[in-house]
Symmetry: C2
Subunit: 443 residues, 2 copies
């Protein structure tokens, strides 16, 4: 069965409206989920471990196991020996691949730490006043890892390693184990990434435990990592008590191609996004109509080989598009409108086009940079801004696990000049105690 993929032409009068309709995505707000998450959070806040235990036994069906439900949250912790055993139990080639990916991700983020101002700064003014900024890591971070099918060891690496590189003292991972089933590859990734403690809890109850702390689960300062609708909702609600990362939307890829890349490669790149999720979005921009037809032919030839073809077909049919553009310059303009999570620039001399891109989570330059390489092991983070949020937000990074403090050391001489300015403005704002506080330091 052929895939009917949407075709757009940027020369059409209503192209912009068609593009907007293609991109439109509203995260559904479900009042029942909202209410359930709020109730679970309140219960965890009030009852601590007992509430976490009840919800975990219930939602993960632990009572139905031969050994019955858990009787303490301590039983739900997985110790370091078990993590190391999971790592030791991997097939050698898989273990090597995971270790290689971790090493490369660590290397990139160490470079990022060096380059993103982690040392802070300070400077001294002529009157002796010192101004600056101190940068410190967060004390303790929680990483949420989904259970079941969507459990991705690569996500454990991508969330934990930047935190470690930033200098976070303790990383607490939570991962639900529905029916008590553990994912060995996820546990092995936790071992490699240096996660400090792992609890097999999930859902809003795990978010609550991390945010408020319980007798067994220590409270964290920030919670990162993807989850289902209950988890997303709980994270939004605890924001302020702890920090959170972005709430991710469906994953997207935008490919700009000049028409000279093997069309099978491009088709497979579009599949690799589409296979994630029926809501995922794959779009190709090209100035060559004949090439778009060749990619479409590749799509229809290759789809039947794909184990996840049903998901791919639904995603490409409902949310995919092949877009004919006037030229590469226009392709870059459209890319800036879309502000894609992943942008492949599959051309010769891709840097010339990358220089024109203002908004993208990650750019993959040249014909060999398939997004899949970045998803696993190139080094940069695969947690990226979705749904046009690359207009204002960034890949997960070392900076997400650091915070800054301003440093102000005013000299006696500085207090004379600054004090007069501050007092003048404070009186202007009607804040007399501010003014007097400055004036008391005047000689």
């Amino acid at each position: 069965m052929a895939i009917t993929i949407r075709k757009l032409d940027s020369a059409d009068a209503d192209f912009r409206a068609q593009l907007s309709a293609l991109l439109a995505f509203e995260a559904s707000e479900d009042a029942a989920i909202e209410q359930a998450a709020a109730q679970i959070l309140a219960d965890v806040k009030a009852r601590g471990d007992a509430a976490v235990l009840d919800y975990t036994n219930q939602f993960d069906r632990l009572q139905q196991r031969p050994q019955g439900g858990a009787t303490s949250v301590a039983q739900l912790e997985i110790g370091q020996p078990e993590l190391q055993a999971a790592l030791a139990g991997l097939a050698p080639e898989r273990r090597l691949a995971l270790q290689t990916a971790a090493d490369r991700v660590r290397l990139y983020h160490e470079r990022q730490k060096l380059e993103c101002g982690s040392a802070g700064f300070s400077y001294t003014e002529p009157d002796g006043t010192v101004l600056g900024q101190k940068v410190t890591p967060l004390d303790r971070v929680g990483i949420y890892v989904p259970g079941g099918k969507a459990a991705y060891p690569s996500s454990v690496l991508m969330n934990a390693i930047p935190a470690k590189v930033a200098g976070v003292q303790e990383i607490i991972m939570v991962v639900p184990t529905p029916d008590g089933v553990r994912n060995e590859l996820v546990l092995a990734a936790a071992a490699i990434a240096g996660v400090d403690r792992v609890f097999t809890i999930g859902g809003a109850q795990a978010v609550g435990a991390l945010a408020y702390g319980t007798a067994t689960v220590p409270p964290v300062d920030k919670i990162v990592g993807p989850g289902n609708a209950y988890v997303a909702c709980a994270k939004r609600r605890v924001f302020g008590t702890v920090g959170i990362d972005m709430i991710a939307g469906p994953s997207e890829i935008l490919v700009i191609c000049d028409g000279s890349t093997d069309p099978d490669w491009i088709a497979m790149d579009l599949f690799s996004q589409a296979e994630h999720d029926e809501l995922a979005q794959s779009i190709l921009l090209c100035p060559d109509a004949a090439y778009l037809a060749r990619v479409e032919a590749s799509i229809n030839r290759l789809i039947e080989q794909m184990p996840r073809r049903d998901v791919i077909r639904t995603s490409l049919t409902n949310r995919g598009a092949l877009v004919l553009v006037r030229d590469m310059d226009q392709a870059c303009e459209i890319a800036n409108l879309i502000a894609p999570e992943h942008l492949e620039i599959s051309t010769d001399n891709p840097q010339q086009w990358a220089d024109k891109i203002r908004h993208a989570g990650a750019m993959f330059l040249g014909r060999f940079s398939s997004e899949a390489l970045g998803d696993y092991c190139a080094g940069p983070n695969h947690v990226l801004p979705t749904s046009r949020t690359a207009r204002f937000s960034s890949p997960l990074g070392v900076y997400d696990f650091q915070k800054r403090s301003s440093m102000i050391h005013v000299s006696q001489a500085g207090a004379q000049t600054l004090g007069r300015v501050a007092a003048e403005l404070a009186y202007g704002e009607g804040l007399q105690a501010h003014a007097r506080s400055a004036e008391l330091r005047l000689k």
Copy 2:
């Protein structure tokens, strides 16, 4: 009437519980405000300018003016000539103070831009693969400025200048003018800060106009600046469509003093926080009980001189505290627990204590560094994390108006090694299109 200020002693058995009770603050969630904000946002999204006009005429009582209500949103825009006129109309000493403050804030943030990794980075691996990070400014930013009494020109500088320094192309300011009354000092600050366009609209309707755009108000990529409960609620709701800054809680100061600073100075510093708001919090830590008594005496002597004494009295009575600590080391430990917005370290050699502080929005070192200097003109930003969020967040800065894109340019040789690693892990995660996408690039 003497102020009865709470006294705590860190040697008390239940000190930690007393401290927790002192710090406890829950932002009230008002379902009626939630619903009103949501309804206004939906209406602005649907009806654009017409909705903005209706709400502005209604909530800011513009129909009651002699000239009646506004008939278009364009009428609510204040042009550059009017901003320049507001600046020209200031008393010379006030204009000079505002200009001096703006210059110092700009200088600090330019230094911050240099030091926070704004240049991005890239590095080339032995096989020719290039990895890096590109840093770009946001395109367009909205600044919300409250109207009426809480209109602070210093906040205009603190929000707009970092955006300008970051390279934001267009800054749109919104400021409500209840009863049509404009605050000339706020408009003058907008002129000095280089704000591009100003609309006299406020409330949830202004947040909606900035987030969604209307025929007259262009959509922005991020909204910053403080507002009332409706504004805070609207900002939370549009988060995702646009970026937002932190939702600020009541302002706080923590003073650590060794007992040798003039007690009047410390009393006035505590007042300067307390005068903001009845919910503001001022706490003093000192190892010298006699000194705490002297500060208390100063408080009771100085309070009657303060025009805002009623606010100060309520704030200090309900939320203030004088805390006796064992020694300066313990004071630093307690400061890390509190993670204060503002921390004064009023001692000799304050750097030795600052080195022990992990969590604070801004640190004011030495006896001359009163918080008021930082509020107006020292240079660092006065928009700081409140309510213990300094554990995971930072002062507003240039970095809040920039975002990063990962750059991945894999060479043909790199695609061979990375492709095998990626394929191995992708098969492990059951994502075969990812694996095939990597494998197609293998020779």
